[in-house]
């Protein structure tokens, strides 16, 4: 193990070509002993005698030898990614096939070019679903997005660390619930036999069932998302708020700015980059609504109001066997998402924000 350690420390020192050329040349010559009679070389120093050859930085082979344990350690993860992320990427060829899951498989199914894509674009149902996805996304964006910011601002004004910690512990909790649990909790609160309906009936009103109301569905999924994740969203904003230089507040206060003006002129500008970043990310994942959440309620509400792109792909592909068609829809979704990220990032740049990646 010792030689390995010295190689490692060498790597830092002799990364580029060795200008003095002393150590490198020494070792080089010693290795090809026959040439020792050639041009005069400085005598190898005793200390260097034990070192393995290192010429002008260390060779790739040596680095590979030195780091083989590290590389070995990454292999299990790389294998998993390869099998479950990269290989399925190739599986997308079924989008260009008339895929037959039983007899022919991926290798045997005939290629049909862009037929699946033309079928998608001519299918009015597909456009309905896409529109529905975007409507649900926009509802969530508008109603959900400001809430974590508001909670963070509120928490930030609480001076007691204990109270802050308690409130945080409570609002983070639902983030760790599964969607099944969240949906069942909502079912027990707002379903036909839920707490609210029960209370209404007791007080002589008509009961109601929000869980099966198609018109209400987009607000239902939004409120579920808020209940589950709004508290979790606070973390990022709290961190950004903690990073604000308090001198700015003090200076603003000395200049006569009240509480609200300090919030407007100090706090919110400090949050701007974070808000822009999160908005870009949100818009980029516009088509990635919470699949599980919506699939869980698809049966109750009906496909009309609840179908989003993901559930549509699931339904047409896995449930009804149109794998080629569904895979084509999946590819469309992927490309659309990339376009959304790039577009949103462009807008962020135009507004002078950094976005996900910077311009340079």
């Amino acid at each position: 193990m010792k030689p390995r350690a010295t190689v490692a420390s060498d790597a830092g020192r002799t990364d580029g070509p060795d200008p003095a050329g002393d150590a490198g040349a020494d070792v080089d010559v010693r290795r090809s002993g026959a040439r020792a009679a050639g041009p005069p070389v400085p005598r190898p120093k005793e200390k260097k005698a034990e070192e393995p050859p290192a010429r002008g930085g260390i060779t790739r082979r040596l680095r590979l030898r030195r780091d083989r344990t590290l590389i070995l350690m990454t292999l299990p993860a790389m294998a998993l990614l390869l099998v479950f992320n990269y290989v399925p990427l190739l599986g997308n060829v079924v989008a260009f096939q008339d895929y037959d899951v039983y007899d022919l498989g991926i290798t045997g199914s005939p290629f049909v070019g862009f037929d699946n894509f033309t079928r998608i674009f001519q299918d009015y149902r597909f456009w309905e679903v896409l529109l529905n996805t975007l409507v649900i996304f926009l509802t969530q964006l508008i109603l959900f997005f400001p809430i974590p910011i508001a909670i963070a601002l509120l928490l930030n004004t609480i001076m007691s660390a204990r109270v802050r910690a308690w409130v945080q512990a409570i609002v983070y909790l639902p983030h760790f619930f599964s969607w099944v649990l969240v949906v069942t909790v909502f079912q027990q609160m707002f379903g036909g036999a839920g707490l609210v309906a029960q209370w209404l009936r007791e007080h002589g009103h008509e009961g109601f069932d929000l869980m099966t109301n198609p018109g209400f569905f987009k607000f239902l999924v939004t409120s579920q998302a808020i209940w589950k994740d709004a508290g979790w969203g606070v973390i990022v904003f709290l961190a950004a708020l903690a990073a604000v230089n308090t001198d700015l507040y003090e200076a603003a206060a000395v200049d006569g700015a009240g509480r609200w003006r300090r919030m407007w002129h100090v706090t919110l500008p400090a949050l701007r980059p974070v808000i822009a970043l999160l908005l870009v990310l949100r818009v980029g994942s516009a088509l990635n609504l919470d699949f599980e959440q919506i699939l869980l309620q698809r049966d109750q509400v009906g496909a009309g109001a609840s179908e989003i792109l993901d559930t549509y792909i699931w339904w047409t592909g896995i449930k009804t066997g149109g794998f080629g068609y569904a895979a084509a829809a999946g590819i469309f979704k992927g490309l659309f998402s990339v376009a959304m990220v790039l577009g949103a990032n462009k807008v962020a740049h135009m507004m002078g924000e950094q976005g996900v990646y910077s311009k340079k």
Partner: protein
Amino acid sequence: MTTILDSSRDDTPPAPPAAARVETRLQRVLRAEPRPVWEEEPTKAGAAFKGFGLFAICAVILVPIWVVVVTSLSDTKAINDAGGLVVWPKSVTFVAYKELLSGGAVTRAALVSIGLTVVGTVFSMVVSVLCAYGLSRKDSFGHRPLLMTMMATMFFGAGLIPTYLLVTGIGLSDSYWSMILPSAISVFNILVLRGFFMDTAPELIDAARIDGAGEWRILLQIVMPLSRAVIAVISLFYAVGYWSQWFNAMLYIQDSDKYPLQMILRQLVLQHQVPPGAMGAAVSSGQINSLAVQMAVMVLALIPVAVLSPFVQKHFQKGMLTGAVKG
């Protein structure tokens, strides 16, 4: 100059002698950090508004959980009296839990979920920690291509259909592994771990290496003990993921003996299916209340996360942000 400083000092009110105050319990809980001098005291209305806001936020989250827990502990009479869900506990009985855990589908599903969570979390953590450590040195061989290979998967997904075809194609359907392998590692979690490992003092690692420790030993005896907090947090994330697993089970598992708890929960509450076996008989004979059973299953699904998450909560903020920034 001195006069200005002095006068500004005079403006600040003298701090009240702390020892003179005798705190009540409530005051101790509410005790605040000292308010900066330049900040105004909140108005009465403002303070009331803030208090109400915080209270409302907490109530929205806690009340439904409370109702679920209370109903699961109520007997049939209490549930009938309340006309459904019970808000105020009148009696406490564990009959629903006893029935659930006395064998049968729910017990099985709970065991499957526990097994999946334990095995899956250990598997995910081993793979993730190794990978994060393997990528924690920027000058190591192949560091950049390996990192890029990994991070690229954050920006594209293969899509549901090809993944489904692959998992069923390699014969994983109806196997417990189909609920572990496809989503075993999260690149984000690996990046968080990697950020922490990179932060480990290089002097310590160098010292260990000079003393003859190899990579495995450095990882196990130096880096991991120093990163205990982040390892706890990431383990919790993985564990919650496995515990909450529903979608993979729905896609790949047909054999109802292999259903995890979330599948059963969905069947009972959302699809209104009668619980199978002896429990179903007990429910239909009115011996136990089906609502209490539903609630008890919900509580079973809720307990592990509710118990575990506060333990590692204090590390969340730090862990999440450090890793994200370093990535």
